[in-house]
């Protein structure tokens, strides 16, 4: 897992130095590189498939753990090398909490991610946050696995 991420990161750095849109090197990830002029859908697809668009949290927590940090570094690097669009960070919770608190906790989570990305050099002006509390679960089930999937912050590509 780590090896692939390193390859991915180095691939991104290589590509970032190119002006052209051509994919270079075997270590580059498959799929279209997010060049200027790519559609929101392309960018989002790239983010989801090649980098990972979401990070997860422990119950009631909003801190960025080690694996989240790793993924967010990849996101940050991609964002810094790919200008021209904004992102929305969506904070979510599982259903095992009350409505208002979960709205607040979702906001805490998306804000944690924002602060982390900004600390890595992403322009704060590109980042919006929104909380969905427990309103938009990713997993429909009521098991601890479903809940773990729902305690997340998702990075969504916005418009310019």
């Amino acid at each position: 897992m780590n090896k692939n991420y390193l390859a991915l990161l180095s691939g991104l750095f290589l590509l970032a130095s190119c002006e052209t849109t051509s994919l270079g090197g075997d270590s580059a990830p498959t799929g279209s590189y997010a060049a200027p002029g790519s559609s929101t859908a392309d960018l989002q697809s790239y983010l989801q498939k090649e980098i990972g668009d979401r990070v997860y949290f422990e119950t009631n927590k909003h801190n960025i753990n080690a694996s989240s940090a790793f993924k967010l570094e990849a996101q940050a690097n991609w964002l810094k090398s790919t200008p021209g669009f904004t992102i929305i960070l969506e904070g979510h919770c599982d259903e095992r909490g009350t409505r208002e608190y979960n709205l607040a906790l979702g906001e805490r989570r998306s804000n944690s991610v924002k602060e982390f990305l900004v600390s890595l050099g992403v322009d704060a002006g590109r980042i919006q946050t929104i909380s969905y509390g427990k309103e938009r679960p990713a997993a429909d089930g009521s098991t601890s696995e479903s809940w773990a999937e729902n305690r997340r912050s998702v990075t969504v590509v916005g418009s310019e």
């Binding site: 409505r99 607040a104 906001e107 929104i130």
Partner: protein, 433 residues
């Protein structure tokens, strides 16, 4: 809102009433009441009188405190409104109270008189005249229900009220949530939004003319105020972050709410006339779900400043904050009773949700209901009944759909409010003006 005009007159009979229920004592046997044939001026009036009786009967029976005797009795229940019933006939039945009425329909106007008779003491307990537009017959039925309830229990009623709530449909991951309103007995259902944008946590203004709720129809989710008469709505203020969890002050002049910004959620108060905003909490964490005391001098709210969600009370003059929940588990969504004596709340402990009540100093904590997921209690106008929404576990990975339930504060008489679809986030109005 259609207005009711009514005049009170009490005939000079003896004041002592044998017919009485103490509703604070948990499970009491329902008191049997009977309806006499209402005197009506024509067929149309008779039709309306039957509808009114059905609404009253339904209200009183649903309260768990009364039972209505079946219509079929062996003697004539048709007597002139002005006459005393033949109590010896009625003593053979189990009826303890008799309701008689006279309904006159003129043009578009409904004129109704009713009397409540005590069978045991053979006294008239109350007599009242009401008048309204013909189409407003439901409200007259609710007002009469409240008068009967009040006369027999000594407590004010709650039937002439409405509940605003969130109507839910669709898959969990893409739930459609619409604002909706309903009479407390389930009639007169109306959708207030079309579900394009998520709507959450609606609350009534004290005069029930306006709803404050959270809507996602802007880039940042915000509190909107919806005028029930005109259908117009406007966003509340211009805040630099998500605003949510609104509640009106008892005089309707202020709104207290949460504002989430930069990972921190605090409670703010806004004067609805001057639009001046006052920040009330300064803790770097989550302070939310505020609710005013009925005298407007305090708010209760939840905060995780101690490490996890607990309930606090703030004196709005001195700004002094005191924690009042000390039990194990998380305490949330506190709501102050209109009587001022109790605070209801949601509690989470060991994977279960509870609805509970406690005195306003935190003592006497008591569970009223528990389920797999239950939250968001709201008080009926008389502070004796609670509504909330709940879901139960059907099997390992299957949960029931959310529905609104009501229950006495004693924990008895659980009922469901029938809604067209799934339902959550109920808020109970005060008695309608």
């Amino acid at each position: 809102m259609k207005k009711l005009i009514f005049f009170l007159f009490l005939l000079p009979f003896s004041v002592f009433a044998e017919l009485r229920i103490d509703i604070t004592q948990g499970n009491t046997d329902p008191i049997p009441l009977a309806f006499l044939e209402f005197n009506t001026s024509n067929d149309k009036a008779k039709e309306i009188s039957l509808k009114i009786k059905k609404v009253i009967s339904n209200n009183l029976q649903r309260s768990g405190l009364f039972s209505l005797l079946p219509k079929k009795l062996f003697f004539d229940t048709t007597i002139p409104f002005e006459e005393k019933p033949i109590f010896s006939d009625w003593k053979i039945t189990t009826a303890q109270g008799l309701v008689h009425g006279k309904l006159i329909l003129s043009r578009d106007r409904l004129n109704i008189e009713f009397r409540l008779w005590d069978v045991l003491s053979q006294n008239q307990m109350v007599a009242q005249k009401l008048t309204t537009e013909k189409n407003n017959w439901r409200r007259i039925a609710h007002v009469i229900s409240d008068i009967i309830y009040q006369r027999i229990t000594g407590e004010s009623g709650y039937f002439d009220s409405r509940i605003v709530y969130i109507s839910e449909s669709g898959p969990k991951s893409n739930r459609k949530k619409r604002l909706a309103i309903i009479d407390q007995d389930g009639a007169n259902h109306k959708f207030l939004t079309d579900g394009t944008y998520l709507a959450l946590t609606p609350r009534f203004s004290p005069a029930a003319q306006e709803i404050a709720y959270l809507s996602y129809n802007r880039r940042i989710p915000r509190i909107f105020l919806l005028d029930l008469n005109t259908g117009n709505q406007k966003v509340l203020g211009d805040f630099p972050g998500m605003t949510f969890s609104p509640r009106y002050s008892p005089d309707g002049n202020k709104l207290v709410m949460s504002l989430a910004r930069n990972g921190n959620t605090d409670i703010y108060e806004m004067n609805l006339k001057s639009l001046k905003i006052k920040r009330l909490t300064f803790y770097d964490g989550i302070d939310t779900a505020p609710s005013y005391s009925p005298d407007g001098d305090f708010i209760t709210f939840e905060s995780d400043r101690s490490g996890s969600q607990k309930i606090y009370v703030m004196n709005l003059k001195t700004k002094k904050v005191q924690r009042i929940s000390f039990g194990k588990g998380k305490y949330a969504t506190p709501v102050w009773s209109p009587r001022g004596d109790l605070i209801a709340f949601t509690k989470l402990l060991n994977g279960e949700f509870y609805i509970g009540v406690m005195y306003t100093d935190g003592k006497g904590e008591r569970v009223v209901y528990k389920s797999y997921l239950v939250e968001g209690p709201t008080w009926a106008p008389n502070g004796r009944v609670l509504a909330f929404y709940s879901q139960y576990k059907i099997k390992k990975n299957k949960i029931s759909k959310p529905k609104i339930k009501i229950i006495d504060v004693t924990g008895n008489n659980l009922r469901e409010i029938i809604t067209p679809s799934d339902a959550s986030d109920p808020a109970w109005s005060g008695l309608l003006p």
